[in-house]
Amino acid sequence: MDASVIVFYVVSVLLVLTSLMVVFMRNVVHCALALVAALFLIAVLFLTLNAPMVGILQVLVYAGAIMVLFLFVIMFLNPTALEPRHRLWWGLGSLAALILAGGLAALMSNGESLADPVAANEAFGSPEMLAKSLFTDFVLPFEIASVLLLVAIVGAVVLAKREP
């Protein structure tokens, strides 16, 4: 067994476990902490896939900014009442999720698996290459994303503002 295979299996088992904890924990704060762990594990997978820049941004933006926002809202609203368990919904939801997972996995493992073409290229996934692609081919989407973030900021302030 290769070291990368062991890393992949350990990380993916932990990732599935933490994702299940996000869905099955009853306390919202526990869900949020499990989601932080899952995001960190996905960042580790990004690092193993030659995407160090995206992995760092995943930790900074997701585990840093977005999850702090979630925890802040949980603290702000302080939802003390535990949600009721609906057996029917959980059964139907689990059935749908199982069918979806089975179908997607069958579809995705259907084709020929690609070999490893970029093992020799050291620069792949470096910030330089990412920036070159981002600021040449994807300039317009980049600008649109900045406008979208501005709209999101203004919208959040307007929505969450206390009415006089």
Binding site: A32, F76, G125, S133, A160
Partner: protein
Amino acid sequence: MVTLNHYLVLSAVIFAIGVLGVLARRNLIVVLMSIELMLNAVNLTFIAFSRFLASMQGQVIVLFVMAVAAAEAVIGLAIIISVFRHRRSLDPQDMQLLKW
């Protein structure tokens, strides 16, 4: 040897877990978190394809997905705060004013 299919199957499983959270949970904050989980599963497929097809475009798309996810989380949480202020509840079953 970890192949592309390993990553694709893993992200399919994570996506299905996120779908389960959206379908079965009765708490708006956890529903939003499950959506984040689904977005991350899709990001994982993008990064895996980018690696195995040796193309940077997948990684750039993931950056855009992150920006949209941040905007979505901000707006979603603002709506949740605003709804909670009116209804004192986070249960999506209580929000059926438009349902007939």
